[in-house]
Amino acid sequence: MSSYRLTNLVLPISVVVASAVGLLVLAGTNPWDPLQLIVEGSIGWPPFEAGKSAKVGDTVMVWVPIALASAGLIVTFNAGMWNIGIEGQIIMGAIAAAFVAREVSAPRPLLVLLTILAGAVGGLLWGLLVGVLRTAGGVNEIFGGLGLDFVAISFTTYLIIDPWARTGVASTSGTDIFPDAALIPSLSDTRLSPLAIAIALLAIGGVWILFRGTLYGLKLKAVGANLRSSFLVGIPTNRYLLGAFMICGALAGIGGTVQATGFHFKLIPAISGGYGFLAILVVLLARYQAFWVIPISFFFAMIAVGSSQLDLRLDLNSALGGVLQGVLVLSAMFGLGWAAYRAKRQLQEASGGDSG
């Protein structure tokens, strides 16, 4: 994969800034206020001011599942797979963690560990299913994954309104709050959990090492780049494809655990928060580079948390945050694609000069 070069980013960044400003002007506001509000709503203004730690905590805890899913997606993307099923893998992780949180009683450290493991296994199995459909059934991973996303979403709703319904209340607002012993430990008065941050950073570091220094990672990359040559070299390609889905599913599942036991403290219908789809965009923008996932997913977390301020303060609908996110991603992709196209053209002109 091509690495980031700062000069390649000038064009995409200018496109992104131009379209963000354009959108906000169209929405009838000056572009500065909403941006400042998003920053203020997510990390405070001036940033990271004392006393705003609750906000920062929320933003970080949104960052954790996006970062975990992104780390997982780097693995599947390198193996040449579009793991659209990532949403379902987050959800199944959350469901598995919720099951442990509701049904198992144990001392807190053990129970927390169990919820995390359960989340990893839930996501892993859901990811494996996408892989099996693809390798054994010939079902394209995009369609298989999308189908399984819907299954997972509906399954959550079913659990919430029927077997796990709050006593006496038929509501889709979620299950009962989990017992304290199952909640991932956090700093006082905030959701900020050092354990969750550590896991996310470990996952990113692990993926970085996987593709930097291990034979397993190199083989995954080979399978993604050329399935047929890899098979002929003697790599058991199907096993590696399944492996990629399992790793990605496990990381996404842990992300789901953090959502359930560290952010909502219960299982809710939209437990994945759309962070799986967001992570796909993060990884595309990061060009499969593990390190870049950290800042890019934090940026998305800021918009997600900060845009809730918009309607209160500027009389703009907070959904504008989502629109802004979409526009930013599309314009960044356009800019990156454009830069790549120009680079290719330049290369062709340089090498094609002697053939005329």
Binding site: M1, G213, T214, L215, Y216, L218, K219, K221, A222, A225, N226, R228, S229, S230, F231, L232, V233, G234, I235, P236, S351, S355, G356
Partner: protein, 496 residues
């Protein structure tokens, strides 16, 4: 008057697909274009039909120079191309396919178009219902549809790219009859093929291409041996190679039936001894490729057995063959051998024997530098494989081969390589015989086959039509067999 191609050049990166081609096709002639796969025929026809634009050169039709920037331009100029896979939109009805490419945007008169199509069909002896969905048509009928469509659009030059692949003998007869009557009416027909007998049946003049150049032209009829010689090149028979004593049996293929999709159901057997080199000759797609895939475990035979060094591996997985030190190098180096985007070092790590989880990059780089040097690869350990030339890609593939090798199976080991690289490749391959490696290779180069094989198996239409001792046979004998005539038949013909 007619169609004239003048000095056409078309390069793809370092590959000279068309290297100064000049051909004249007189109006009203059936002109054959012969050549092995990779000779540059398809590229040339794509240039002529506006699909690719030439790097340089001129196309002159009836004395007027024409510029073809797209297939649209070609059709407007009166050049119609019938692709190997007829470009039919399967869910559409026959008549909708027929009118689809017609110029103009809005007006669609199906009734008139139907009448005109029927008239063309009647004239050339085709028949199909305009309202059937076209997916119900056979490949042959799709071709016929495509031909009447191109005629309707006003084609004056008709290009057919390997039109007889996948159609029945009956349909072929119909097609040839239609082409003959078209040429009588003044249509110029370019018939692209690698099948000698068809060109001999149909064409009045033939041009032979090889490695992007025109290597021969002749008015038909010409004896097939002459055509084979033009296609495969004249042979300078030098067998200066060192002979190696052959050891025990390494690979036994016993009465294998291949299910190639060709009609032949005859079985093939072969026994290869250690240190022996077997060459597989024949027109492209005569069964050599399938045979190699069966020997390598990529494909299971329909019947019969494959034994490697005394172990029956019939029906076993490809990786079991690998474990038995059988290695297969297909012709598509970048498609089926190397991995685009990965560096030379990474390739050596993937193919290497060190299976430890963490890669020692410093050591891997040192080893890669060493191998790049040993195998004289023009590139560095950090070069990605797609940046290498074909010759250097082949060197890398050879460098990646394991030390222990029982059987090496290769498709076109030197295709696209310059002479220096080709000689070097064979030096390496022949050296492996001394360790007892058996080599089975398919080639379209008679010189290569005669020079390096111990025995040559000639394939024709899905079966082995002859087995020859390379030291005592000659070009003429192989040429006859490749054309599908067995030596005996030739003898009895000669006695008349």
């Amino acid at each position: 008057m007619g169609l004239e191609l003048r000095n056409i050049h078309k390069h793809f990166g370092p590959i000279r697909a068309n290297d100064g081609i000049s051909i004249t096709v007189e109006t009203g002639t059936l002109h054959g274009l012969l050549g092995e796969n990779g000779a540059g025929k398809s590229t040339l026809m794509k240039v002529l039909s506006g699909f690719h634009s030439a790097d340089s050169g001129e196309i002159v039709l009836d004395g007027k120079q024409i510029k073809l920037a797209s297939p649209d331009d070609a059709i407007e100029a009166g050049i119609g191309m019938l692709h190997q896979d007829p470009l039919v939109f399967l869910p559409f009805s026959v008549i909708d396919n027929f009118v689809l490419g017609s110029p103009g945007g809005w007006r669609l008169d199906r009734r008139q178009a139907t009448a005109e199509m029927q008239e063309l069909c009647d004239r050339y002896g085709f028949s199909f219902d305009p309202h059937t969905p076209s997916r119900l048509l056979t490949v042959g009928e799709r071709q016929q549809l495509e031909i009447v469509r191109l005629l309707w659009l006003g084609a004056r030059v008709l290009i057919l790219d390997e039109p007889t692949t996948g159609i029945s003998a009956d349909q072929r007869a119909k097609l040839f009859a239609a082409l003959k009557s078209l040429s009588k009416e003044g249509m110029s027909v370019i018939f692209v093929s690698h099948k000698l007998e068809e060109v001999a049946d149909l064409c009045e003049r033939v041009t032979v291409m090889k490695r992007g150049k025109v290597v021969g032209e002749a008015d038909m009829p010409v004896p097939p041996e002459r055509l084979v010689e033009m296609m495969f090149g004249q042979t300078v028979e030098i067998r200066d190679r060192k002979e190696v004593a052959h050891g025990k049996s390494r690979l036994t293929v016993d009465s294998v039936r291949m299910a190639t999709g060709l009609l032949s159901e005859e079985s093939t057997s072969l026994e290869v001894n250690a240190g022996e080199v077997i060459g597989l000759a024949g027109m492209e797609g005569s069964g050599q490729d399938t045979f190699l895939r069966i020997c390598s475990g990529m494909r299971s035979p329909k019947q019969g057995s494959v034994t490697v060094a005394g172990k029956d591996l019939t029906g076993k997985h490809y990786r079991d063959f690998l474990a038995a030190d059988v290695k297969y190098l297909p012709a598509g180096r970048l498609e089926e051998g190397l991995i685009e985007g990965l560096t030379i070092t990474e390739h050596f790590v993937l193919s290497g024997e060190d299976r430890s989880f963490f890669i020692d990059w410093a050591q891997a780089r040192n080893r890669a530098v060493e191998q790049v040097d040993n195998f004289a690869i023009k590139g560095t350990e950090a070069s990605t494989v797609e940046s290498l030339s074909g010759g250097n890609q082949q060197r890398l593939l050879l460098a990646m081969l394991p030390h222990e090798l029982s059987v090496l199976l290769m498709e076109h080991p030197t295709r696209g390589l310059d002479i220096e690289s080709a000689d070097w490749v064979w030096e390496q391959l022949l050296a492996r015989r001394e360790d007892g490696t058996s080599i089975v290779f398919a080639s379209a180069d008679l010189d290569e086959l005669l020079r390096y094989s111990d025995r040559i198996l000639v394939f024709f239409s899905g079966r082995v039509i002859g087995e020859l001792d390379a030291s005592s046979t000659n070009v003429d004998e192989i040429g006859l067999l490749i054309g599908g005539r067995s030596a005996n038949a030739e003898l009895s013909e000669g006695s008349h």
